[in-house]
């Protein structure tokens, strides 16, 4: 009854054909990608047919070099009964970062999507309350994108000489 990574891969290809791609196995976890418009269908399939009923994690990654697919939303799911994990990512361009929300299916996705919006600017369509969660509400940029710096640029008291930048 064990659900192996090969079985999962076969079932996914059977259902979605060439819309699921880039299968790889990093340290035992199967990862694959799919286009952003069908992300809910894939998650629903994993939930109903393959038993991945627990959303472990939802986060974003910014690849500024991949033109047209700069922001990637990564889902980690877990099947408790078979004890199998899976990773699934969708990529969206930075000009129109729209992804359908998974919060109707998993309540835990609610805040994780708000955090991804706060850090990367991903617009989750259908989310009930897409506001900033960790940063101040007045912030007008998305800090975890690679183009923005770590430090607060409005400081005037830092002595560059002491930091080796003077």
């Amino acid at each position: 009854m064990a659900l192996s990574n090969n079985t999962i891969e076969e079932k996914l290809v059977e259902k979605f054909g060439d819309q699921v791609s880039a299968f790889s196995t990093a340290s035992g976890i199967l990862s694959f990608e799919s286009p952003a418009p069908i992300n809910l269908k894939v998650i629903q399939f994993l939930y109903d047919e393959l038993g991945f009923t627990f959303l472990t994690d939802l986060c974003g990654v910014n690849y500024p070099d991949q033109k047209g697919a700069e922001i990637v939303v990564v889902y980690h799911l877990h099947n408790f009964i078979e004890n199998v994990r899976i990773r699934f990512s969708v990529a969206v361009p930075v000009e129109k970062p729209d992804v359908f929300t998974a919060s109707k299916l998993f309540e835990s996705a609610n805040w994780m999507e708000r955090e991804t919006y706060d850090f990367f600017g991903v617009n989750f369509i259908g989310h009930a309350n897409l506001k900033r969660i960790l940063n101040v509400d007045e912030m007008d940029y998305f800090p975890l994108r690679k183009e923005f710096p770590l430090e607060d640029q409005t400081r005037i008291d830092k002595d560059d000489e002491m930091f080796g930048r003077g």
Partner: protein, 195 residues
């Protein structure tokens, strides 16, 4: 092999006639009277009965809990009752990182405190932003409120927190009665935008 350093042979305290009293301030005394400055007496009373407001946000808050517990007891210094209402407290102990989202809240709590009030910044994050030189962390609470004592450490040991507290006690004991109404103090508050 290092020898065991912790105390496995504790000495019994000799407390038969060891009642310790606070040292008396300078003054002129005689039979049935003692004359001294009002500020010394008031300072002595205030410093041994400070009521802190623990504004604990993160890891330094856990070290504060260890300081309040029985091993490093802070109530020996008169602060048995920690209060959470700003109007009732003398000492604002800011322990932990203050993010920019939290800074207005901290300022409001400071404004609500009644004079005389003192502020102690416990830990590296409250003193200067600590290891978090990021866009979301306030680089030291002295950007928004005036601070009296800074306690460095990440987190400071309970002994260090007690040392900072004792320095506040020195400041309280020697403060002049007129300080809170003086021009200098008003100028200090104005520099922070506090009327």
């Amino acid at each position: 092999m290092r020898p065991v350093r912790f105390n496995i042979h504790p000495k019994e305290a000799e407390i038969a006639d060891a009642i310790s009293m606070a040292p008396a301030p300078d003054g002129i005394g005689g039979e049935g009277f003692f004359a001294t400055q009002l500020s010394s007496v008031v300072g002595l009373a205030r410093k041994n009965s400070l009521w802190p407001l623990p504004f604990a946000t993160s890891c330094c808050g856990i070290e504060f809990m260890a300081t309040m517990a029985s091993h490093y007891d802070l109530s020996r210094f008169g602060s048995e009752r920690v209060g959470f209402s700003p109007r009732q407290c003398d000492l604002l102990m800011v322990m932990g990182t203050i993010a920019k989202k939290m800074a207005p809240v901290l300022r409001q709590v400071y404004l609500q405190m009644a004079e005389p009030r003192w502020v102690i910044a416990v830990g590296a994050c409250a003193s200067s932003g600590g290891i978090f030189d990021t866009y979301s962390v306030l680089q030291g609470i002295d950007q928004v409120i005036p601070v009296d004592v800074y306690v460095p450490g990440c987190p400071p040991r309970p002994e260090a927190i007690i040392d900072g507290f004792m320095k506040i006690q020195d400041l309280v004991g020697q403060e002049s009665i007129r300080r809170r109404n003086s021009e200098q103090y008003k100028a200090l508050l104005n520099s922070y935008g506090i009327q």
